[in-house]
Every structure is written in C-alpha cells, then in structure tokens.
C-alpha cells in the first residue's frame, strides 16, 4: 500500500517537474497542513510558521525539478522549510534583542491561543521554546518525526555526528529545564 502511494506520488512529482501546473498545485496543497504543523513546532509561533510555509511553497515551486525522489516529498518540503527558518534566524542575528522581543511576543500569543481553546500549555512546550532553533529542530526531527541521524544530517546539511550531538544536547537541556 505504502509502495503504491509512493509510486503514485513520484508519478505526480514527475508530471509536476515536467510542467504540469495542476499536479504541482495538488502536491503542494496536500502537504500544506503537514508542513505548517511542522513549522509551528519548530518556530513555536503560528504567525511565523504561516509566513515560512508560504515561502516554502514558493521555494518548492521554483525547485521542483531538483527533487530526486530519494526521500518522501513531505521530507523534502520540511527540509526546505527548516532551511528557510534557519537562514532567517542567522541573517537576523545582529538584530538579536529585537528578534528576541518578537519571539517572546509570538510565544505569548501562541500560549494564549492554546489556552483560549482550553488546551494546556505544558511545561515541555515551555521548555521547547527555550531551546535554540538548531537544538529544537534536531530534537523534533529525531524524537517526534522519527528520522535517523543520517537523514537529519542530510536535511540540515551537517554531519550525522553533529546531528546526534545536537539532539543529545537538546534533550539534556530539556531535562534540566524540566527538573
């Protein structure tokens, strides 16, 4: 069943790469929600996630021919989304205090949104907001999405050993925060 779905998806990607606009639009629409939900967890800010998901869609449109089918299409999309987010955080490092202020506002807004829907803002969510983006991403990819260190390394453009040490450090930080 999974193999059949994967074959159908690859066929759709092939048509999209060859210039079939409706195939590409359908692929993007089907994965929109998945990518958005991933980015909410990565950024811990729904508004920022919304901005990045739109940038991700545009980047996917531009680079559809570069998708080689070695990973799932959803993995390729979240790789692009992750890199856009990391680029943004690195580019804006000089404006760190301003960015921190916006980030804290985003987190507060997110917490308020959740609580207004009678959802609990857990201490794990709180601890996740205090991790650096690099550590939060590797922890999520490993322990929530179940990617291997090799796959995470490929997605982030870092060696698998670095992905492993970042994940271990992130988990250690979470443990400290939750103690």
């Amino acid at each position: 069943m999974i193999i059949m779905m994967r074959t159908a998806e690859l066929e759709e990607v092939r048509r999209a790469a060859e210039g079939d606009d409706s195939a590409l639009a359908s692929l993007l629409q089907r994965h929109y929600s998945f990518v958005y939900k991933y980015l909410v967890k990565v950024t811990m800010d729904p508004n920022l996630a919304e901005e990045i998901v739109q940038d991700t869609m545009v980047r996917c449109m531009e680079n559809i021919r570069r998708y080689d089918g070695t990973s799932a299409f959803s993995s390729w999309m979240i790789t692009i989304g992750t890199r856009i987010y990391i680029d943004r955080t690195r580019r804006k490092k000089r404006e760190q205090s301003w960015i921190d202020l916006i980030r804290h506002q985003g987190i507060r807004r997110f917490r308020w949104q959740l609580e207004s829907r009678n959802e609990e803002w857990t201490d794990v969510m709180d601890a996740m907001t205090r991790l650096t983006p690099e550590h939060r991403i590797t922890v999520l990819l490993k322990h929530y999405y179940g990617y291997s260190y090799d796959e995470i390394g490929d997605m982030l453009g870092i060696p698998a050993g670095t992905a492993k040490s970042r994940t271990a450090y992130g988990l250690r930080q979470l443990r400290k925060e939750l103690e």
Partner: protein, 112 residues
C-alpha cells in the same frame, strides 16, 4: 549515560511526543489555499522564473563577450600583462577558497 538519566530521557521523550501531538491536533493553518489559487501561483512563478532565466542568459552572454573581447585585445597588445593577470587571478581565487573553507568550518563547529 547513567540508567536514571536514560529513563528520565525516555520519560521526557514520551512527554514531548504527547505535547507535540496536542499541538498537531490544535494548530491548523488559518487558510489553506485552494487548488485554483495554487495553480495560478504556480503559473505565475513559472513565468517569473522563465523571465529571470532569460535575463540571466542575456547578461551572461553580454558579459562573456565583453570579457573575451577585452582579453583578446590585451593578449594581442601586451601578452605579459595578460599572463600576469591570469596568474594573479588564480592565486586570489585559491586564497578566497581557502578562507571560505576555514570560515565555513568555524561556523559549523560554532553551531554544533
């Protein structure tokens, strides 16, 4: 890693998965674009890319022609200067590549 740390980590991973699943259940995008909207965005994007590629190719050929013309003129009028520029260019390219490599390695180590 001690056994108690390991079991603590397992507990944290379990709580993490629970919390992240809760976020997945609650967070939905405010507006998923319709197929028609996405199709028109894809068409627009392809048009922009085709145009950008065309401009890029035209610029590339213009610059290439200028460089070839200048290099030919220089080679004919003073071969020594031409060869000097070639050697200097190669040396600078090697230095820039080495500096970039060192900086990239430092950045990678810093982000680990």
């Amino acid at each position: 890693m001690s056994r108690s740390n390991e079991s603590q980590d397992q507990e944290i991973v379990r709580r993490l998965q629970q919390s992240m699943r809760a976020l997945d259940d609650v967070c939905e995008p405010a507006d998923i674009p319709s197929l028609a909207t996405l199709e028109s965005r894809v068409r627009e994007q392809r048009r922009i890319k085709r145009r950008a590629n065309l401009v890029e190719i035209i610029c590339f050929w213009l610059v290439a022609l200028m460089v070839i013309t200048l290099a030919t003129l220089l080679f004919v009028s003073s071969p020594a200067v031409y060869l000097g520029i070639q050697v200097l260019g190669t040396v600078i390219a090697v230095i820039v590549a080495a500096l970039w490599l060192v900086r990239h390695r430092k950045e990678t180590m810093h982000h680990e």
